[in-house]
Assembly symmetry: C2
Homo-oligomer: 411 residues x 2
Amino acid sequence: MQATGIIVEYNPFHNGHLYHLHETRKLTGADVVVAVMSGNFLQRGEPALLPKEERTKMALAAGVDLVIELPYAFATQQADVFANGAISLLHALFVQDICFGSESGSIEEFHTLLEKKATHQHTLQQIIKAKMKEGISYPTALSFALEQLSTNGVDVSLPNNILGMHYIEAIRQQQSSIVPRTIQRHGSNYHDETFQHNIASATSVRKTLLTNDLSLSSIEQVIPTATANLLDSYISSHGIIHHWEHYFSSLKYALLTRTKEELASIYEAEEGLENRLLAHITEASSFTSFMEAIKTKRYTWTRLQRLCLHILTNTTKKQMAQAHQEKLVPYIRILGMNQQGQRYLSLMKKKIELPLLANTKAFSHPLLELDKKASAVYTSIHPEPIRSAMLKRELTLHPIRYNEIEKAFSH
Amino acid sequence: MQATGIIVEYNPFHNGHLYHLHETRKLTGADVVVAVMSGNFLQRGEPALLPKEERTKMALAAGVDLVIELPYAFATQQADVFANGAISLLHALFVQDICFGSESGSIEEFHTLLEKKATHQHTLQQIIKAKMKEGISYPTALSFALEQLSTNGVDVSLPNNILGMHYIEAIRQQQSSIVPRTIQRHGSNYHDETFQHNIASATSVRKTLLTNDLSLSSIEQVIPTATANLLDSYISSHGIIHHWEHYFSSLKYALLTRTKEELASIYEAEEGLENRLLAHITEASSFTSFMEAIKTKRYTWTRLQRLCLHILTNTTKKQMAQAHQEKLVPYIRILGMNQQGQRYLSLMKKKIELPLLANTKAFSHPLLELDKKASAVYTSIHPEPIRSAMLKRELTLHPIRYNEIEKAFSH
């Protein structure tokens, strides 16, 4: 069986993702598509709008065969760590290739960029160093440096292209035989916030939903029916989609009950950043106003948002180091599958060396402990007894089976 | 000027307190009554129903001349530490006597009890040890042991009497010349929850208010008009009186985001108690049900409630030790005064050795840091921007002057 891997957040699953999925099958002829998906918190250091369970259902409804969780300790990191974790899971699952979206759709451009990067490693480091001395953040400095190399090639100012580059780098570093492929993104630019045709970016889908009082009619033209049904059901029963503002009260509580020393032990609290946060938190009355107050040229919104997330989940440098002790993800947490995904797992069971986790109860690892904490935090904004029930469900959740939920997806 | 000290929580100020205040003046002929009052969190490890600012106004309205804050690190402790902190403040303020309520109103009985206690120290310790081996908590074991000594004397099963005993012990330990006096409590037993005449216990006042949807008419016969006005104003603008259930969401969040090691470092987390809490928190959907689940013969409600409070405020053993480095309270935080109180302070200014704090901004001490944290936690249950405004106000609050607020108290 030919398996292809994709790396996703599905926040939420929309028509652009559907297009990517179909084009991936077309390009690779895959019998099985395996998606590695972030859990409840995402790469930019923010909560997913719906729990991983709901986003898994969206993926299965659209035809993804197997959904695997990218743990918190990889999912909420800058591109290199994120890519490393995702690729390690796909490698462990013996996918033959991966397929990611890029602006040009040309994998050659990526290979060329990486060759140049290897050749000019020293110059690159010098440019990055100089830029950071000017007070520019690392990701921006890296983009700037790569831009000097990538004239007429990959547009390295685009986050998706940067991720793609890191996927290929991770494959090489892990000496994996996975073949990287790319397809051209369609319809909308990443930063484009207005809908064009029936494809929009996830950012614009969320924004439109939030500015339209969670009315699904505002986004129904750019999401599949299953996504609409799942969003509708969650919003009806919980009244919200998850958003940083919902967690601001707890973030403020967390900041104001910890000493500077405790805050300095948090992952990503570097260069006295904790003092900057403490100086502004007492008077901040919203997450947005807090972020506006603390952000600088050096510390981007995303960088600070990740720090806030690690404060919220109380993830220390020590805990993160323990979680990364094997460098790669040492287990496979299955979030969902259809019959094809299940067949693939049965077939590969003997070859797969990592433990396959059906739920988080029976297994223990510092990496998984962080995911349990993330679940506790993610569900904490709901009133009781919903909060307790959701947390318990999440901790004991067995993989979603497509046939069990088929009904929910009927259109 | 003759000054008398009283030690209070005023949760809320009621007719029994008014009676105590009048009887105190009658007994001692005091020119000035100085009240040492717990801040936002109380001896039983629970939030005061209104902030210290409002309770200070209640005290001033009733005729207390000077209100001093008993810091968190003393106010939320068992009777001996609580008494030690309160007496040290009154000693530093040169009061000549203190006057506390007791069931019998006989100070002789207390002296007799303490003499017996000193004589039978060894036997007492043996009884306590034996009882604790049976799984009985320390306070209960102490009461039991004292009961053996105190036949026909102080009823040591009553918390107020135990406190009184500790006040006298603290005076002796601190070699203070303060004269202890006592007046008989009137009208209602401490545990009595039904109203008799126009005096009721604070416990029954709170309970009645809560079970009657915060309707003030349910308690107006047992509280002064000023208390009613202040309660009315707070409830009108905030919709609540503070209660542990409001903090349960944050307690659960705090418990679920900390490791066992972090929890074990919290003050009062002894003998693996943190494991007991962790075993029950995920499924607990209210503070009451959580407490019911964790309490045992050995660990009383109060003992566990205090532990929960220190978890909520993230108060570690180390921080508590630093706060107690001088054993006594090393500063005087003035919460409020009338003209008479102000005159007394002016008169004594040169004699008083401890710094007099008008607000918490200018001074720094580990003890005060805990109070700032307590303020941040106490105000955290309000929505923004009220939360930020309340916290800022509390941290910068200058002493309440009686004349400024006279209007609020007019009946």
